[in-house]
Amino acid sequence: MLTRYGSLLFATGFAFLLFSLFIALPMGEPPTLAGQAILNEAANSVGAANIVTSVVLAYRGIDTLGELSILFAAATAVGLVLGGQARAPRPSKEDGAGGFILQTGVDLLFPLLLVVGFYIILHGHLTPGGGFQGGVVLAAALVLPVLARPEESPSPAALAWVEGLAGAAFIATGLAALAYDHAFLTPLLGAGQLGDLFSAGTLPLLYLAVGLKVGAELAKLLLRLAEEGPAA
Amino acid sequence: MSFAGILIELTLMPLVAFTIGLFMVLMMRKIAAKIQRRVGPPLLQPLYDIIKLYSKQTQTSHGLLHDIGIVMAVGGYIAAETMVPVPGMHGIADKAGLLTLAYVTMIPSLGLALGVGQCANPNGSIGISRALTAMLAYDVPFVIIIFGTAWFYGSNNLVEVVAAQQAGGIATWGVMQMPILAIAGLFSLYAMLGKQPFEIYVAPAEIATGPMVEMGGKFLGGLFVMQCFQLFTASAIYVSLFLGGGENWPFFIAKLFFIIAIPMSLAFLFPRYRTEDVLAAVWRWPVILGLAGVWLVMH
């Protein structure tokens, strides 16, 4: 009892103390030293209309690489924890399969989701969205059919190839800059015309890699968790 | 002093000491007899006793160490008394000093202890255990006194101590200058002599004379000789520390006998102390007096 109220008290106190700290800050007028500088020059030097994308893939590209690695690490770790081989028997077709509505809906949605996913990925440097968001949509596209027809899940090996190669492609793009005497992860191919699909140099390519990787990774994660039927 | 002179003194001193010691034994026995309303032994009885013991037919030895124990006991005291200056002779007093003297007087006890131990008689061992405990008891006030006098006279050298006392007649005697220490010293001397009531280590009825239980013939004779030297040495030390030492022989001898007479006169007044009581008796008043005396001397 004491622990319970004490914990609540402390959680509230913690929030309150944080509040008293944050409220002292200029809410709505942050200093934005680095941010403003980026806003000022990103369009020229990177060429992506979506400045967040410039930040994600160019200015803080290595953060994104780390982030991809974390996702990869999480997927690998989940694989390690849950084991390589199927441990629980797959649910049989009868009790696992979705009904007619689900199956038809999935058939309709699957291509749509794929298209939307790739659209979001490829327009990441222009409009809100990007590799992560698109990747999630792709993952959804890959996982939905499994709900409808559990026996027809995508091949894990193929997903592994996609995620590995996509990650490698991201790094390779970064390393390519070294060949041109630039630092690691420097965007290549020029900035292009702001707002064009083919602008912002290698950024769309990077986002494609990110999208594929995220999609494959998430799909793998979800599938792996879904593999678990009611445990014996 | 020349080397030869010292040698001559060293030869003479034991002889003198032995003679005086014999008479001291006689006096002790006389005093005891007087107190007990007896006649007491004749003049040469102590000497006769020794001769008798040496000339006994049966002399049983329990081994070499038994013999060596007697040799060490006698020899130790012979050596010890040469470290106490007597009128006209300093022996090696200025080469050894009070401290050395105090420790040399422990050699005979050790020798005796070894000899008794070799006899393999448990009574003897018990007696030695008690004797050593008694030594632990009476040496504590004794060294306090040694410290006090040595501090007072600024010297560890008995020759100088004696000279300083003789400088101003009776007024500069130790007993006048350090009366409390002198009283403590008398206690200590009393216990050191091992007479009643401090003779628990002999305890004839209980442990059959303790250390002496296996001593017969010349072994016992040797101990008698030792006793003569012991009486002389102990009293001479006291006289040298507190009674002005020896200006000349008559005075010196008188002082020696006087000193031995005191404890002997008191000896029969008290019942025998048990071992732990010896410790209690000697560690209480003599030590307190001694420390008080030292404090007075040093302030």
């Binding site: 622990t3 319970r4 914990s7 609540l8 402390f10 959680a11 913690f14 929030a15 509040f19 944050f22 409220i23 809410m27 709505g28 007028e29 942050p30 934005t32 680095a34 941010g35 980026i38 806003l39 990103a42 369009a43 020229n44 209309a49 979506n50 400045i51 967040v52 410039s54 930040v55 994600v56 200015y59 803080r60 953060d63 994104t64 780390g66 982030e67 974390i70 996702l71 690490a73 999480a74 997927a75 770790a77 989940v78 924890v81 849950l82 222009l126 409009t127 809100p128 990007g130 992560f132 015309q193 702001l194 707002g195 064009d196 998430l218 994660l221 792996r224 968790l225 678990e228 445990a231 | -």
Partner: protein, 161 residues
């Protein structure tokens, strides 16, 4: 957005954090713990976005191909950071869920206290040591030798001043 709205958002973010943390501390069910973590992370992310918010500014996307932007834009860096933080959170939560699944399979429970007790027991069994309960005797060999036969015991006796 009004000053009040900002403060409300701040309170909301911090409230999410507080709820999440309280959940983390109090919940015993593994799945709820993961959920609590997700809630708290949402709060933190909201806080991060707030840190980049500027009064009256637009989203940092240049419209119409113009490199001149008179309109103020919000700070893009926190937005990128939030993106990263969300993905990190997803990864960690997935891993935690996987662990929860396995733990339930092995021990048949999702209750943290029970699982912890089982874990302790397993650790002790694996090491082969005696269980460490609070009533235990002082640990095995201590530097002080146990009472030995006579010599040592007597050695230990001391006259004290």
């Amino acid at each position: 957005m009004s000053e009040f709205g900002l403060v409300a958002l701040l309170v909301g973010a911090l409230g999410l954090i507080a709820i999440g943390i309280a959940g983390l501390v109090l919940a015993r069910n593994l799945f709820r713990l993961v959920l609590a973590l997700a809630v708290a992370e949402a709060g933190a992310n909201l806080l991060l976005v707030l840190a980049g918010f500027r009064q009256g500014a637009s989203a940092p996307i240049i419209e119409g191909g113009s490199t001149l932007h008179q309109v103020a834009m919000v700070d893009p860096i926190p937005q990128a950071m939030v993106l990263t933080a969300i993905v990190i959170g997803v990864g960690v939560q997935a891993l935690a869920l996987a662990l929860a699944v396995r733990a339930r399979e092995a021990y048949g429970s999702l209750d943290m206290d029970q699982l912890r007790a089982r874990m302790e027991a397993d650790i002790i069994a694996a090491a082969g040591t005696a269980p460490t309960t609070s009533q235990e005797a002082p640990s095995g060999a201590r530097p002080l030798p146990p009472p030995l036969p006579s010599p040592a015991r007597i050695a230990a006796e001391e006259p004290s001043s």
